[in-house]
């Protein structure tokens, strides 16, 4: 590795944090629990991997407190691939985040999939050099996370279910939240900011841009190429796929197909071809069958 020399070198600015998310766009970020899985993800064309001890489906099954992964596991996965490696820390657990930063993880997911460490405060993400991605269910939640310093957003969906319905609900909620801003006067914008619990300046920026000021991926329940393409057509910038790949019958085949579907999301002929003969996707859960206290999306606020 070579350090840049010379005048005016600035590391860890919001521009380079949000900039990496721009480079991930149109891609698929895959949950992996071993270096071997990370290699499969890279060979399938993943634009990044999320290093975890257990995929969300197993976290959901096992119960108990879910924490940051073992640094030894994260190092093993980092050594196995050349693409960016992300890892999760608990909501509000800024020490786990500092450990992940020290490990030179490329992105931290402050994630509701792990057990929250703080029921009032998320991490103040501004002082970190490493960028953060955070989950959201609607525009207000997305803008609260950006105000705390998140450089990338993802919809929460309902992780580990293999059911895309919550991801769709959350993506549509973000889109509707932005659409509602069209034509509002400044006074009305202040009122809207109060209603949805979002900072006025960020809301004004959304109104001006007609979109979120940072990249927005979808996540939580995406488990087929058609799911991935659906989320892209609903306007997300790329897909996180957790349990959907390595809980399917043929992970390499499924991973390749989901990568291709994310790029060719608006070409039904390509989707038809790549969706054929993939084997069984992960089994999946109906949301109403999950006890309310076990819903992950309700964590964080």
């Amino acid at each position: 590795m070579t350090e840049p020399n010379g005048n005016g070198v600035l590391k860890g600015s919001f521009k380079v944090k949000a900039g990496l998310a721009e480079m991930l766009k149109g891609g698929v970020i895959m949950d992996v629990v071993t270096p071997e899985q990370a290699k499969i993800a890279e060979d399938a064309g993943a634009c990044a991997v999320m290093a975890l001890e257990r995929v969300p489906a197993d976290i959901r099954r096992d119960g108990g407190v879910a924490r940051m992964s073992d640094p030894a596991l994260i190092k093993g996965i980092k050594a196995a691939v050349t693409i960016p490696v992300m890892a999760k820390c608990r909501i509000g657990h800024f020490v786990e985040a500092r450990i992940l930063e020290a490990l030179e993880i490329d992105y931290i997911d402050e994630s509701e999939v792990l057990t929250p460490a703080d029921e009032e405060n998320h991490i103040d993400k501004h002082p970190f050099k490493v960028p953060f991605v955070c989950g959201c269910r609607d525009l207000g939640e997305a803008l609260r996370r950006i105000a705390e310093g998140a450089a990338m957003i993802r919809t929460k969906g309902e992780a580990g279910t293999g059911n895309v319905v919550e991801a769709v609900r959350h993506m549509r909620a973000v889109n509707n939240g932005i659409r509602r801003l069209h034509g509002l006067s400044h006074a009305e914008l202040v009122h809207e900011a109060k209603q949805i619990g979002a900072p006025v300046d960020l809301l004004a920026e959304c109104q001006r841009l007609g979109r979120l000021p940072v990249v927005n991926f979808s996540a939580g329940g995406i488990s087929t190429p058609a799911d991935a393409a659906l989320m892209m057509q609903l306007g997300c910038d790329g897909n996180f796929v957790g349990s959907g790949i390595f809980k399917s019958e043929d992970p390499l085949k499924m991973a390749k197909a989901i990568v291709t579907a994310t790029t060719y999301h608006d070409q039904p002929e390509v989707l038809a071809e790549i969706s054929a003969g993939l084997g069984q996707p992960m089994r999946g859960l109906e949301i109403p069958q999950i006890p309310k206290e076990e819903l992950l999306a309700a964590r964080g606020w």
Partner: protein
């Protein structure tokens, strides 16, 4: 715009802002009648895999080797290069730029940086945004077009321009304008 993965929309926005017409390229037929191709930043492995999977690799290589001008940024530079260090096993470029690059040669994301860049033909420094950027180890027969401190961060060879940094994220349209004006 090669639109398989990465920051192609930012290039599209920059080019449209200076009055250029743009088209996204994801299938071989979409290469027809282009005046130039942008190969954006993103993950070079993902782009290479998708080009090979969808039958784009050879048509794009052929078009560029027959003189189609290109502006390549970051991952795009890797795709054009002769030699790639620290790539995935067997990762190869088009070999159309006689340069050797080290993938993520400046380090992982926590080492990503902004720094002023001196570009040939520009009076003032250009705001360079370097994100897990490739490091140019050897410029071979290519011309050095941009430097950060004394290190080459932009090269030109024939009608190909390749940059380690991201003008499409800088809000500065000078390099896009210069590229289009030279067509």
């Amino acid at each position: 715009m090669l639109a398989l993965q990465g920051a192609f929309k930012e290039h599209e926005r920059a080019l449209q802002a200076i009055g250029a017409r743009t088209r996204l390229v994801r299938l071989p037929a979409e290469l027809d009648d282009l005046d130039a191709l942008v190969i954006p930043g993103g993950e070079s492995t993902t782009m290479t895999i998708l080009m090979e999977r969808m039958g784009l690799w050879e048509p794009v290589r052929k078009a560029l080797s027959e003189g189609l001008p290109a502006l390549a940024t970051c991952a795009g530079m890797i795709v054009l290069a002769r030699d790639i260090t620290d790539g995935v096993n067997g990762q190869h470029g088009f070999g159309l730029l006689d340069i050797a690059v080290r993938r993520n040669g400046y380090g992982r994301q926590v080492h990503s940086f902004e720094a002023p860049v001196r570009v040939e033909g520009l009076d003032h420094e250009f705001p360079g945004v370097f994100i897990r950027a490739p490091f140019v180890e050897d410029t071979g027969t290519a011309d050095v077009y941009a430097v950060q401190d004394d290190q080459p961060v932009g090269v030109r060879q024939g009608r190909l321009t390749a940059l380690c940094f991201h003008p499409e994220l800088s809000g500065d349209l000078r390099l896009h304008r210069e590229f289009v004006n030279a067509l």
